[in-house]
């Protein structure tokens, strides 16, 4: 029973704290809705693949909520189906980059000396490499048609800025009296890193994760738009890319076709970023235990 | 700029009224958890030329009360009900009814607040001179030469070398120097009342002494009317004519400094005195007050001190006592102040020079014997 009650209580507190910031909570709800739509939606909304020449470029209506494309296909169904891949790639990238940044940033701060120098030296080198052009070049050599691989690549290149931030946070936490007390009690490096330092950076880590996700969304869409990533399935990026290459920006009629995926991305990004306001509250240990 | 201390003192003689009167002042803060009752029902007259110490622990409402007088409370705070009357030149205003501009005038010209000398009491990118000049300009004093003369005079008064300080940035000064600069700046527009919030806290002992000497000079030579806010009983003993003990937002005892330190009648004041050692004199057993200060959102019933009080009875749980006269010019808010008096007859406080001298000589004899 306790096994269920514990996490349930945790969830309850988190939700309650998230409501403390209204904008943040709305962001959270919208994010949740988009995630639901992208993950569960495809089971309810079949992807419209039939060409209907009599319905080309229709504006939004009760029949086609987001209008239709150049072949008369329903845009809404494409939006519903096109979110999953974008979000998946972004999540893989964000998870990897946050993981690297937190592990090595904390280690660097905690160990100091040579370890710190090596990690920071390497970080600075990666940091100086312009991420997007490198990815563009890489895409020419490696066929990035596997979504996970794309996420891993994005993640492998986007951790340095976060690592620096985590390290400086950990450095200041390290000087705190409770860490000194843990040293005096000889509680060991593992305890100090994972029990003393990381929990106090949780807010920061969670927010960094969401921000890394939004960054990965943009990079990924950028790559797709430039046609550097031959992702086959339909996703928001591919939708824009296709609309773009077919000159959709030149017809007023085609507006809905290019606007809708852009809007989907913008709303997703906006809601995620707004949600961080609530996350900040939800992971604040002080508020957490007061609730 | 022309009104000297003499005009000020005459005021009280003329109309027999105190320059600052607080009547039934309440301050509360709205928070998510509920209403914080920071100050409750404070009525107090500040006499011309006197120095009054507000003492109490964290959460006693002493700082909130000080900030309420100059209306520098955060926006979530509400001062009501209550009246804060300020009198000068036969004029009388309710500070709580002043508009923004009038309040700004009042804040420097009539009543200045001196904050604890942390760096954040200054604008870090402005030199001391610029801070003074900005303040003067904001109050319509545009004579640069005169402002500078005044500042130099004040810096000399607080025993700082004007040449060294006037063009320094705040971070270039030590804590003690910053506290003195703050004091000098607060005197720039010649206010009549000074409110000093923890004027010596966080300063080194020898620096504390310098500040204390300076404040005594200000009080004795210049006749300033001052309110000291401190958690430190020693500051009250060193500087105050009268002392008000605050607990849970109320004044629980008010009297002349000697009355408070040698003849306390409120159990909380007695508890504080018994908890604080003096450095001079023999060994005195100290006692702390059991329990913790109350939750200001969820205050205890009756007398707010009753859960920590050794004298408490059932009555204390039900009825909150008002301040009543326990001696000439000495009031205490306790149903059992007579019991406190009896307790002090049984177990006197070892205070005052005589008892301290006895203790020292007694110790010396004891050592000589052993």
């Amino acid at each position: 029973m306790d096994i269920i009650r514990g996490p349930l209580r945790w969830l309850g507190t988190t939700l309650k704290l998230m409501t403390y910031n209204k904008a943040g909570f709305i962001g959270f709800l919208v994010t949740l809705a988009i995630l639901l739509m992208a993950l569960v939606g495809p089971f309810f909304v079949p992807l419209d693949t039939k060409t209907k020449l009599d319905k080309i470029y229709q504006p939004p209506s009760t029949e086609h909520w987001f209008g239709t494309d150049h072949q008369g296909r329903d845009i809404f169904s494409q939006i519903v189906h096109g979110g999953k891949d974008v979000i998946y790639v972004a999540a893989v990238a964000a998870f990897l980059s946050t993981f690297i940044a937190v592990t090595f940033g904390t280690l660097s701060a905690f160990a100091g000396g040579a370890v710190d120098s090596v990690i920071m030296g390497f970080t600075d080198i990666i940091l100086t490499i312009p991420q997007f052009p490198l990815l563009a070049v890489l895409a020419a050599f490696i066929k990035l048609d596997n979504l996970t691989l794309l996420g891993v690549f994005l993640g492998l290149l986007s951790w340095p800025a976060l690592l620096r931030a985590v390290r400086s946070q950990a450095l200041s936490l390290k000087e705190r009296d409770f860490v000194e007390a843990a040293r005096a009690l000889d509680l060991g490096a593992g305890h100090i890193i994972f029990r003393e330092l990381v929990p106090n950076m949780m807010t920061y880590i969670v927010i960094s994760f969401t921000l890394a996700m939004t960054a990965a969304v943009y990079t990924q869409v950028g790559l797709v738009l430039l046609g550097l990533v031959p992702v086959s399935s339909s996703n928001w990026g591919v939708m824009i890319s296709l609309a773009w290459t077919q000159g959709a920006i030149f017809f007023r009629d085609a507006m809905w076709r290019i606007m809708m995926p852009i809007l989907a991305i913008a709303v997703f990004q906006l809601s995620v970023i707004t949600m961080t306001r609530s996350l900040e509250l939800a992971f604040n240990p002080r508020l957490r235990t007061m609730a | 700029m022309t009104k000297g201390k003499l005009d000020w003192q005459m005021d009280e003689h003329q109309n027999g009224k105190a320059p600052l009167s607080l009547q039934n002042v309440h301050v509360s803060y709205a928070t998510r958890r509920g209403k914080v009752q920071a100050v409750r029902n404070v009525t107090l007259d500040l006499h011309a030329g006197e120095s009054l110490a507000l003492i109490g622990e964290s959460g006693s409402g002493k700082t909130t009360l000080g900030l309420a007088i100059v209306r520098l409370l955060p926006e979530t705070a509400q001062i009501s009900p209550g009246v804060i009357l300020y009198r000068r030149d036969g004029r009388e205003v309710d500070i709580l009814k002043l508009d923004r501009n009038e309040m700004r005038e009042f804040r420097w010209r009539d009543c200045a607040m001196v904050f604890q000398a942390a760096l954040n009491a200054f604008n870090p990118v402005l030199k001391i001179w610029a801070q003074a000049w900005d303040t003067a300009k904001a109050h319509g004093w545009h004579d640069k030469e005169a402002v500078r003369r005044r500042l130099v005079e004040l810096l000399e008064f607080v025993q700082l070398d004007p040449k060294r300080v006037i063009d320094a940035y705040p971070h270039e000064l030590s804590g003690g120097m910053r506290q003195r600069v703050l004091l000098a700046l607060s005197l720039l527009l010649n206010p009549q009342v000074l409110i000093l919030d923890e004027p010596t806290t966080a300063l080194d002992i020898i620096t504390q002494r310098t500040i204390i000497k300076l404040l005594r000079k200000l009080k004795e030579d210049q006749g300033f009317t001052m309110i000291f806010i401190s958690h430190d009983l020693a500051i009250a003993a060193e500087l105050a004519d009268r002392v008000a003990t605050m607990y849970a937002g109320r004044i629980v005892e008010l009297g002349a400094s000697e009355d408070i330190f040698y003849r306390p009648r409120h159990p909380y004041t007695l508890g504080l005195i018994r908890a604080v050692p003096t450095v001079t004199g023999g060994f005195e057993q100290l006692f702390s007050i059991p329990g913790s200060p109350p939750d200001l959102i969820d205050l205890p019933s009756g007398c707010k001190f009753h859960p920590r009080c050794a004298f408490a009875t059932d009555r204390c749980k039900l009825e909150e006592p008002e301040l009543e006269e326990v001696g000439p010019g000495h009031t205490a808010a306790c149903w059992h102040w007579r019991a406190v008096e009896e307790e002090l007859q049984r177990n006197p406080l070892h205070r005052g020079v005589l008892s301290v001298l006895q203790a020292i000589s007694f110790n010396a004899e004891e050592e000589a014997v052993s």
Binding site: F178, A184 | S174, D204, I206, T280, R351, V353
Partner: protein, 331 residues
């Protein structure tokens, strides 16, 4: 009796080149088991740095720390860890010394489990409850699942003490342990510390800027006064408080504000030649107090560093000029 802790010529420098700051300069003292010693001085005098070196949290630039007669530098890693656990520190700020993300239970059980002081989680909990009783945090059952911010300053400080006790230390460095606690509660914490001294045979090094507290806590012990990194005077508390010999100790004692209006107005006022304390970056030559000292002797005080010499009335003083002069502090 052999001292439990001894430091010899302990020196700590921070920074490099021109920016070098000598925080602690050739400090030597010894503390016997069961003795209570207070290290007193103003900010920047090196008292906390000394405390942290004693607790093995900071490495001295030179000099030695001997614990139970053994130089800690020469200990093998097991020996060093034993020493590390035997000497605990209690910090000044109870808001910073406890991890805000951990409950009292987590704070107390982690060291118990790590060092096998108990068999299992249940044992750890029982011991944690016991320790909460020891530090008067009762009812312990109500306290154990609280987070630090749910406790008052005094209660947090008690948790910090309980945490130190988990590893059964022999020596505790209490660095300004009560100066951020409300006045009305300070004494109860001091009383508790004094009780631990008896109950667990812990020896205390009590670091404070508050001479009145030092006097109260170490009435039967000793006080050591530091100024700008050096010891200027030490001795039995009762002698040092009533008959200080170093002009700095005298200035300090006369400057302490007294919570007694009559005393406050009857204390001797010692005028220093210079009110500001010199910068650690640019220390005066000879006796570092000489630019402020009212008894300054040119050619003597500014020329050589005065040695810490034994006094006939007990203790040591680093002032050859004034060491025989008694100065009454009340007038």
């Amino acid at each position: 009796m052999a001292p439990i802790l001894e430091v010899r010529n302990l020196t700590k420098k921070f920074g490099k080149g021109k920016e070098t700051v000598t925080a602690v300069d050739s400090v030597s003292f010894a503390i016997e088991p069961g003795e209570t010693v207070c290290l007193v001085g103003e900010s920047g005098c090196g008292k906390s740095t000394t405390g942290r070196m004693v607790a093995g949290l900071l490495e001295p630039t030179s000099g030695e720390v001997l614990f139970e007669g053994k130089n800690i530098k020469e200990l093998d890693s097991a020996g060093f860890r034993r020493y590390r656990q035997s000497v605990q520190i209690i910090h000044q700020d109870p808001y910073a010394s406890l991890n805000p993300t951990q409950t009292v239970r987590q704070i107390l059980t982690a060291p118990l489990l790590r060092h096998n002081k108990v068999k299992n989680r249940a044992g750890a909990e029982a011991r944690a409850l016991e320790l909460l009783e020891v530090v008067d945090l009762t009812p312990a059952r109500d306290m154990i699942d609280k987070y630090p911010h749910q406790l008052s300053g005094g209660q947090r400080q008690r948790v910090a003490v309980a945490r130190a006790l988990t590893v059964e230390p022999k020596f505790i460095v209490a660095d300004e342990a009560v100066s951020m606690v409300d006045v009305s509660i300070r004494v109860s914490i001091l009383t508790m510390l004094a009780r631990l001294k008896e109950q667990f045979h812990v020896t205390f090094l009590f670091i404070t800027h508050d001479l009145a507290l030092a006097k109260y806590f170490a009435w039967t012990g000793r006080i050591t006064v530091m100024y700008l990194g050096r010891i200027v005077e030490d001795g039995p508390t009762q002698r040092l408080i009533t008959d200080p010999r170093h002009p700095y100790t005298q200035a300090l004692l006369s400057a302490v504000p007294e919570a007694d209006p009559e005393l406050a107005h009857r204390k001797r006022q010692i005028e220093l030649r210079e009110a500001e304390i010199p910068s650690l970056l640019n220390l005066p030559s000879g006796c570092t107090f000489h630019p402020r000292c009212p008894y300054f002797v040119p050619g003597e005080c500014d020329q050589r560093v005065p040695p810490l010499e034994p006094l006939d009335v007990g203790g040591r003083v680093a002032c050859p000029v004034r060491k025989h002069e008694h100065v009454p502090l009340l007038v």
